[in-house]
Symmetry: C2
Subunit: 207 residues, 2 copies
């Protein structure tokens, strides 16, 4: 099936399904139905059915899914087995917060390092390195980094974006409040955190 | 018009329109068209037309919008004139990063304080206070706080959620990876940052 068709909301729930499924005693639960998963996770039956259908096609009537196959399909979708390497440029508060998230690994992405120009935040050792920006290019080449996360301010975001692309990065998650200009074949996801808050505020007005 | 109908993506672009419009010399531009705005901001004509239509109805043919009216409509949508007070509970890296964002004000939300149990992060003075969690309830009552942002971990998220609701909060932006149980009349927006990254990774697979 076309993985492009998997919506963000479904992807957001996959790790929850995966965690539940992998904790099941394998011998006692060779099959599992969407209904059972929905009940155990307190989710809507229709929602779970749709999610699983997108990932693994329809289950067998009255039986459900082969548990092992469903686990495999979800892992394939999330890319867990071969996580994609990512880097962050901008080790301010937000950059450091993202660098500290363990959660991303469950979604098939491995943040391997952050980069910054501020010497005070550079740390060359430890699990999560923060390196000088001039090392970005060779680092990306060496570690086959495909995703770049931009948490610098808008004045340097375009420059960082170009450095990332030169280093082989093909997908950019941009938190800077500006539109990036990229060549064909590079994906940009513009993150506007404030828009979520504005949406919530808007709903509040209209209650 | 029904403000509920305004999608998040549109809300995300409104501050950009507002900034552009308020910088125009008012006397020389009593009217403005969606096409002009689209050109100046390098956006798609259809997108801008749809956005403005949602916010302010259709412009007049060949003339466009009365600039002052359009500014007023956008401000109304964003709630800029009467910003909603919000608090953050959990002043870790993410909480502090959100507390430091100036951007939220442009979206009609004013983050008035953060709360934490860790004495080392408490700061009772300054522009952005970080207060002990036991002060959450009286603070919310006193400052008419309507939005709560949860950046604690999943083990205490539900407890914080209940304290927020007791304090009068009616909309919750939850970054903790867990589903909150709330009474009717309270809105929860679950933020799964990793889902954006998973979505980007998924697109990368399928290029």
């Amino acid at each position: 099936m076309d993985k492009n068709a998997i919506p963000k909301a479904t992807l957001g729930r996959l790790p929850m399904y995966l965690e539940f499924l992998t904790k099941l005693p394998a011998e006692q639960t060779p099959y599992i139905s969407a209904t059972t998963i929905a009940k155990k996770l307190c989710l809507g039956d229709v929602q779970v059915r749709k999610d699983l259908n997108r990932v693994s096609g329809a289950g067998r009537p009255k039986v459900g899914y082969v548990t092992a196959d469903l686990i495999y399909s979800i892992e394939q979708c999330l890319g867990n087995k071969q996580p994609t390497n990512a880097v962050i440029v901008g080790a301010g508060r937000l950059g450091k917060a993202l660098l500290g998230f363990d959660d991303f690994e469950h979604y098939g992405v491995n943040i391997v390092a952050a980069f910054d120009n501020n010497e005070e935040v550079i740390q060359q050792s430890g699990d999560k390195k923060i390196l000088p920006v001039e090392q970005l290019h060779p680092f990306c080449k060496e570690h086959d980094v495909r995703i770049g996360i931009i948490t610098v301010d808008e004045t340097s975001a375009q420059e960082i974006c170009e450095k990332m692309i030169a280093g082989g990065i093909r997908a950019i998650w941009n938190f800077a409040p500006c539109r990036l200009v990229v060549p064909g074949g590079v994906i940009v996801k513009q993150e506007v955190l404030a828009a979520s808050l504005a949406h919530l505020n808007n709903q509040l007005f209209n209650m």
